[in-house]
Amino acid sequence: MSKDLVNLNVNPCKMCMPMGSVTAFYGLAGCMTILHGSQGCSTYIRRHLATHFNEPIDIASSSLTEEGTVFGGEKNLVKGLDNLIRLYDPAVIGVSTTCLAETIGEDIPGIIRSYRQNRPGLKAKIVTVSSAGYAGTQYEGFFRALRALVEQVEPETERHGGINVVTGPVSPADARWLRECLAETGLDCILLPDPSSNLDGGATKKYERLPRGGVALGDIARMAGAAHTIELAEFVPEEASPALYLNRRHGVPFTRLPLPVGLRDMDRLAELLASLGGRRPPRLEEARSRRLDAMVDSHKYSAGVRAAVFGEPDFVYAVSRLLCENGALPVLAATGSRLPGFADRVRPDIEKAAAYRMEEDFSLLDDCDFETIESEAVRLGANVLVGSSDARRIAERRRLPLVRAAFPVHDRVGGQRIRTLGYEGGLDLLDRIVNAVLGSVEASFREELKEKYYLERESRPAAEPPGAGEAALAANRLRSGRHPCFNGGGYARIHLPVAPNCNIQCNYCVRDFSCPNESRPGVTARVVTPGEAAARFVAFRDASENLSVAGIAGPGDALADWELTRETLRLIRAADPDVILCLSTNGLLLPRHVREMAALGVSHLTVTVNAVDPAVGAAICRQVDYLGTRYHGEAGAAILMANQFAGIAMAIESGIVCKMNTVMLKGVNDGHIPLIAAKARELGCVLGNIMRMAPAKGSVFADSPPVSNREIGAMRKRCGVHLRQMAHCRQCRADAAGRLDEDRSILFAGGGDEPAGERQPGFFRFAVSSKGGVLKEKR
């Protein structure tokens, strides 16, 4: 789990207890709620509920003031009750506390007792709920209200054969389905709560201020005499469970089941109802059969689903089970509630699904925020988000589809009609999830496969005039077909080692000049002047058929010696208006020089980014020299990263096609690389290149564990979710020349004074290497 700011909740994946308790009260007939606290709580909660359910939401407030806070809020609460009774004349009044009322220690039961005594004609039943905002989330608040109802409504203990069915927060449409499903069994069922009409009402001739649908007080009283309680919630704390209370106080046996979203869980509910004497309506069998048929129809698409599921614990658990039984993998199951047993409960199903998918990595989190959910979803390569609309910003940033299946939905209509329960509802949700992934595939597969496999030479387009903007980018992307690193199989490139100095120090790097047999980035036989470089370029071009790229890749950093690089680029462009100019850099000075680069005609750029988090960056790069100051640790890494990101964005704006290289360092940044790939895509890079690192002797990482071919392959595959990955990198030298699969640099290393064409063309030396790394500073 990765969290950036550990002392703050960043983008909460939870709401507060009063929210839950007033939502539960909306499942009662003739109920009005008052929040004992300051005015804002009720207004915020009303706004949240109104946009999701699209129904008028009236919640009173005792509107506590400074005086009430200091001297006690009884007066406010009493007046509030009087007023809401005059305005709404409710049958039930829910009194829920807030942070403020609980903290100043209001004795609510006492206040209500004396209120009742002073108003002998009072018709309304008052139910009190202790729901401090800091004591739990809306999930716990919801059940606390239900528990308060079964505890405080005068019970009718006379036995009857009825069944109690208790649910957590489900949509009105799901509640409606559940009610009908229960009715069809012929059992006498009491559904607590029942928001089906109060939170999803019709257009009537006459508007009723007080919601009249929902479970009646008399039915709640009768729950004490029922034959059985079914509680469709498995994470409710004991002290908030209505089923447990009815069992202990009135001896009503109970069964707890998950929400019937998955097939297995709906089967269990149907079996339980049958065992309690219910009919099995033929319609249920038909629905089940249709569900099975549909599961088969979509099983191969389900196998492509990598979902991040988040929200209230019952929802996350039930949806995870739905996904798992279909072969879809919930790579992340996360709830905002603090619930230590959550992971253990969810794990078995997901472990099994992961085994089927031959994967090991997934994440199960409680008490987490959206910052964590975002970084985990990206790290694990999720391809769909399932939960509330609160993830819409992640969806937008990460270009992931979001299936809005839980409260709150603020940016779409129909929140009240979302279906997730039963054979049909669960299937509806499965279809939406699978379709979201199919939609992404449909939108991208043509382009992706063409990028990946179509390597035919395109006819050489005329050289594009250097320029800024999208048109230049489009033209430059076309030219990628002639660049061996981007798309151009069969073309050759020459690296011109003109820039010896580097402005950062990486822990895997020892800068040194090398023997000509060593092939790895940063290595060169010798550094040449711009004039020599241009001559070398001309010589090599004239001697080869297929030279299309002239690049500068150090041996230090191309931009650390900008004057030399600039002069080289200028000379080459003057000598050849058509050749692709390419640079490789660590990006530190990119924002400073990128505009000029574009103006000089650079069309392709590679930036090596090994971290997107300063803490990780600091472990790789130990010092950064920037504008005359040497920065160490995270400070340096942060400067480097900021400039890399800004520079890449500016480069793309200027029309330059960008690739991001990343050196995979076991135990240092390997877990973090998918985030880098996601960042690369976000910035607009077209290609990623994850490279193996064989640490240079004498470097800090000299004894680090090597990365295997399999590991590199797996990482490329994982990152391929975010960004197309280069699989043909040869990690070439700073003076490499030729096609990627041949290095002819030795033939041209002498500089331009002896035309290479005069040499025997037969003596090509092949230097294929797998080493990474490297370059040592030598003064």
């Binding site: 915020y44 699209n54 009236d58 508007y207």
Partner: protein, 447 residues
């Protein structure tokens, strides 16, 4: 259920058009189901559009959760303000205090993120449990060399208007020149106070001012940043658009810096034209005045043709307005009048006596004016007056629909501009499309 009765305590806050002496600005009546939020809300809505600030809510999670990126303020730079940061206080923090948690959070943010500006909002219980937020912020500001501005916005400590005041004071604290840094440069141009760049409205206003050659120093607070705000003392004039929230800041700036202010509105053709011409007169030269006249004439002519097209579909219909501040209500009444519509129900959450005086003069004696109205009153009067459309916020929308009344969202969540001449086009269209939608015919409620 019949027409709702009016609670005794509420009677003084409801007047007929033209009747003087409405009760306003007081605490909401308990149990009356006020549409107002709280002190924290008032402070947060004013400061939140500052794009590069860390807005940290010190308190339990609810307050942060419900105010996370719910407003349509746009940014041209940082997107930091769209995140929700909270110390997420739990039961144990209530017992042992939350100051330590806040200090750690400030340190982490300062060290990892190096922002220029952090706001710390205290919510209800922070004052009650005794966290010395002021001291924690002062200490953090000194130690980490970043501006850390506390906003003591306990929800119970007043009304939403009090939150506006606190926000103004926080802004004053931010822009007050520190010793030795007081600029000697000549003052020029204006600050815009009280526009939050909903749907790009601040940009629209800036564009207009550019048309008439008036430079803008700082904008409060739509699309603003730490660096842009501290330029405010260089302005020669403050334009106050949302008077309810920003008059206090304007008054403080006048007293301390000698910058005069002027209340303006950019809603509706008339108000926008007046605002631009008065600005040119107050802060410009003859050239600016001429530019303003030419620009507003051109825009007015352009809109004339547009309005004529729509007028037959709007004329003679009745409107209800229930919005946050008085100045917006006044603009809306004028706008409806320009469209040939009469406003029959007007209410605000935080209107001032002087706003209500103007409102009373604008509407007819058949209209009703309400301060801090509740759903039952809105229902009763919208029915009684037979209104065709309600202009309000999202909480009121479902009520209007249930009553078969059209609706126009003038709250902070909207995604289209309602300010300036562009806004007139959007507003007129929206009113027409909702009021004349074929769905009302299906419901048999066509008027």
């Amino acid at each position: 259920m019949g027409a709702a009765e009016i609670l005794d305590e509420r009677k003084a806050s409801i007047k007929a058009g033209g009747e003087a002496g409405i009760k306003c600005g007081s605490a909401s009546v308990s149990g009356a189901v006020s549409q107002r939020a709280c002190v924290y809300c008032g402070a947060r809505v004013v400061l939140n559009p500052i794009t590069d600030a860390f807005h940290i809510v010190h308190g339990p999670i609810g307050c942060a959760s419900y105010t996370w990126d719910i407003r349509g303020s746009l940014t041209s730079g940082s997107g930091l303000y769209r995140h929700s940061f909270s110390t997420d206080l739990r039961e144990e923090d209530i017992v042992f205090g939350g100051a330590g948690k806040l200090a750690r959070a400030l340190r982490e943010v300062a060290e990892k993120k190096r922002p220029k500006l952090i706001f710390v909002y205290s919510t209800c219980i922070v004052g009650v449990i005794g966290d010395d937020v002021e001291a924690v912020c002062r200490e953090a500001e000194k130690r980490h060399r970043v501006r850390v501005v506390p906003v003591q916005s306990a929800g119970f400590s007043g009304t939403k208007s009090h939150g506006y005041r606190l926000a103004c004071e926080a802004l004053m604290r931010l822009i007050r020149p520190r010793q030795g840094t007081a600029g000697k440069e000549e003052r020029a141009g204006v600050n815009i106070l009280g526009d939050f760049n909903l749907a790009g409205e601040m940009w629209i206003i800036r564009n207009y001012l550019r048309e008439i050659g008036i430079p803008v120093q700082a904008a409060f607070t739509g699309d603003s940043s730490h660096d842009s705000l501290i330029r405010a003392p260089r302005a020669a004039l403050n334009l106050v658009q949302c008077a309810g929230s920003m008059t206090h800041l304007a008054k403080m700036m006048e007293a301390e810096m000698g910058i005069p202010y002027m209340k303006v509105s950019f809603f509706g053709v008339e108000d926008t034209t007046t605002a631009l011409r008065r600005t040119a007169e107050a802060a410009g030269t003859e050239r600016n005045i001429a530019l303003a006249k030419a620009f507003t004439d051109r825009e007015t002519r352009r809109l004339c043709a547009f309005s004529e097209k729509y007028r037959p579909r709007l004329e003679g219909r009745k409107a209800a307005v229930y919005v946050g501040g008085g100045f917006k209500a006044i603009s809306l009444i004028r706008q409806f009048r320009a469209m040939g519509m009469e406003t029959m129900v007007v209410g605000t959450q935080t209107g001032q006596p002087e706003d209500y005086e103007i409102i009373g003069g604008l509407v007819g004696p058949g209209a009703v004016v309400l301060d801090d109205a509740n759903p039952a009153e809105l229902e009763r009067f919208m029915r009684e007056k037979g209104v065709d459309i309600l202009v309000g916020g999202v909480k009121e929308r479902p009520l209007a629909y249930k009553l078969g009344i059209a609706f126009c969202d003038h709250n902070h969540e909207r995604k289209h501009a309602l300010a300036g001449y562009e806004g007139v086009v959007n507003f007129t269209r929206e009113v027409h499309l909702s009021m004349n939608s074929p769905v009302w015919e299906c419901l048999g409620r066509a008027r």
